[in-house]
Symmetry: C2
Subunit: 450 residues, 2 copies
């Protein structure tokens, strides 16, 4: 930098995926970062149960990782490409629905803990980043940027003030709780009536995958579903999503096995009968919550990002990606407003909520698609039409899933996009002009190909 | 009672309108009630500013007051009937839109403080009710029915346990805050972008009303509005509802007066120019929030009612009425389930939310009606049609406002009712059959009149 700029003193609350990425972005801009995390340092901790251990990384997340220099490593060394949904029928037979038939883009299964540790490790390269673990936020005066942490190791309290407090402390954010005392703060938390429970398909006796690896496997069963994502060690994390009431009714071994034999027969041997029973009854299903709020900021002093600002249900695989995108957009605003916090925070607050509300709604909707619609002819026909026009006119017609997953189009724009596509298709089908239009487009394509 | 029943030990948190009414309902059933209120005893307090001092009492509220024996007194001695909306045009001329052209039912303007004091006083007639003022809830373990209060007079803490904790502590409920820690608790708070500010039209020099008394006066101005409700002392409480940004722009005497001269010219002399300026700049506009949550209960131990469960914006005049209706319905459930708390609380939670969500949505909508639609020909034509069919077929066709205000039809049913009326009218108008139908109905009416 040519001009000497004021170094801002930033406290990031939360050293999870989004918090540790944000620390890197700010470190690159030369600010002083103190990162406070409630848990112990994940780099030196045995894997914690109870949180989903793999995640689907797509374009928005990759862009952010690229900005801080860890994308190539994550994708090439530690990401397992998933090129299609692999649907398991009731009889155990399967078929694939590609994510991107045109350009063969993939989503990547990555380990949450590995990625988190990698981002924290990267921050060691910056002398302007300090990391504090086992520090629990117990009090916050956001207008003053004043925070009090409890060191859960020593039981000492620590008082900290900062130019900027960034709350990246997840769906049950303590920073957000302090923000709720602000007047005119809109907030909603909505639990869905379904919970989830994690099971595991281990590697085979040769240490390889028991199912074709480069897929996101889905057992869609209408009201409920099971999915499986591949792990680095050739195991699969299997997640059963189902109404709580259905979980409750499966209260004996016999009922559980009868249920699996009826709906997921091919999975029993993969998981192992004893392990299935053990894991199923080891815990209780976890709830799924969607959180919306606004504004995300308090004056020029505090800001929420990631799940703290907009926890979504997991069905679009966009929770982490949307949180990472927050960091990218915020970095662009730091650039645009030349580190003027009042302007940066206000613009982020005013412009971001519409897109996070949109991905939240899309994720709710996608549960129905994944567990039910995906098996219906109407869905498959629509997908074929979408993919065909996309192939003909890739710049003009991007299907919804592709715009969300393989582009950085604002989420709210993805929805608007789909709406005009719906209107157009309806008109074409209604007036019988569809074939003519496709023919015309095809002619156009051929002309350009010459 | 013939059979000796277990006396329940109930703590009601909040001694406002709904809490003190609920205490009476429970006292009548023979339970032990301890009523804890954060403020001092309103019966011995000079009137507090900052809260709306009069309210519109309608049929749901009246039914509840009747159940506890104070309706007649409130209506006959302390209610001022309002039989119509009186619309003030920009030029100061006015016209009336009756609430109930058919049976001339009224809504009643009652003083909040007077009604609250009256309900508290009534509870003195029951030896099983204890009242504690200046007690602030500081901690709650709802599953155990264990509460900790701070006596703000003596600074002592008081520990209390109860069979049932009822949270009637208003929109910013401390009981609800404790309930938010429960898993699967849905919650939303939504502020509208408009605020309100109270002004006053004093009595005339003879101590009489300066405007026709038996009306709710409205100055609808599209994006904003002013209303006035009559008080016992012949003054009027005037409330200006407006976008915050508009309030902010009126930052000088001159701008304020120019604004009133343009939009509310007839009100300036009524309020008094100096008083208008003084009151307008004395405080800042207050926010308006709508709160929805569910479930309302924790096991058989705790329940939210009134604004704590469902604060609504004030534009349907149903906030207090809905809270009072909670008490009535709860009393019916105590009767139905013979004081079995688990059954009572679960049924209340499962059945009540749909109606409170409905009145919340209706109240949001009604702001647009009151400040804007009410002046439009389309509104007046629809109202004329509604009133006419209502007059012909009163058991078959009850207009929306009448079902909400002058009946005890569940709020969600009021909306469904309106929906089929809309569909029917649309069909009739579309197929030109309307005249024929009205003619037929008229003939039917004449036949019955014979």
């Amino acid at each position: 930098m040519d001009i000497q700029k004021k170094q801002l003193d930033v406290v990031v609350v939360g050293g999870g995926l989004v918090g540790s990425l944000e620390a890197l972005y700010l470190a690159k801009r030369g600010h002083r970062i103190r990162l406070y995390e409630f848990r112990e340092d994940i780099r030196y901790t045995p894997q914690a149960r109870g949180r989903s251990i793999n995640l689907a990384l797509s374009v928005r997340g990759r862009r952010a990782l690229k900005d801080v220099g860890v994308e190539t490593h994550m994708i090439e060394e530690h990401g397992i490409p998933m090129k299609a949904r692999r649907i398991h029928r009731m009889d155990g037979s399967t078929y694939a629905i590609p994510y991107d038939a045109r350009t063969k883009q993939c989503i990547y299964s990555v380990g949450r803990n590995y990625l988190n540790a990698r981002l924290l490790q990267e921050s060691e390269n910056y002398s302007n980043v300090e990391r504090y673990f086992k520090h629990k936020l117990v009090e916050a005066n956001l207008r003053k940027g004043a925070l009090t942490f409890l060191n859960t190791d020593t039981n000492e309290t620590v008082h900290v003030t900062a130019d900027l407090v960034i709350g990246a402390d997840g769906a049950f954010s303590a920073v957000r709780k302090a923000m709720m005392k602000q007047p005119l703060f809109d907030y909603s938390q909505k639990y869905i009536e379904h919970g989830y429970l994690e099971l595991c398909i281990p590697p085979d006796e040769n240490g390889g995958f028991q199912m074709p690896a480069n897929y996101l496997h889905i057992w869609p069963r209408g009201e409920f579903m099971m999915i499986a994502l591949p792990n680095q060690d050739c195991s699969w994390t299997v997640t059963l999503f189902m109404p709580f009431i259905k979980f409750k009714n499966l209260d004996t071994k016999e009922k559980l096995l009868a249920f699996f034999e009826k709906y997921f027969p091919d999975s029993i041997d993969l998981i192992g009968k004893d392990k299935l029973i053990e894991d199923f009854f080891a815990g209780s299903p976890s709830p799924l919550v969607a959180i919306k709020c606004r504004p995300y900021h308090v004056e020029d002093k505090a800001l929420l990002i990631g799940d703290a600002a907009h926890a979504v249900v997991p069905f679009y695989g966009q929770g982490m990606n949307a949180g990472f995108e927050d960091c990218t957009l915020l970095d662009q605003l730091f650039q645009k407003h030349n580190d003027n916090l009042a302007e940066i925070l206000e613009e982020f607050s005013n412009s971001r909520w519409e897109d996070t509300f949109a991905i939240s709604d899309l994720a709710m909707y996608n549960y129905i698609e994944m567990r039910d619609l995906v098996t219906r002819p109407s869905y498959l026909i629509r997908k074929a039409v979408d993919d065909f026009i996309f192939w003909l006119l890739p710049n003009f017609w991007v299907p919804l899933y592709n715009s969300v997953t393989f582009s950085t189009m604002p989420y709210s724009q993805c929805i608007k996009n789909r709406e005009w596509q719906d209107r157009l298709l309806k008109k074409f089908f209604t007036f019988g002009g569809f074939a003519a239009a496709v023919g015309g487009a095809f002619a156009l394509k051929l002309k350009y190909l010459k």
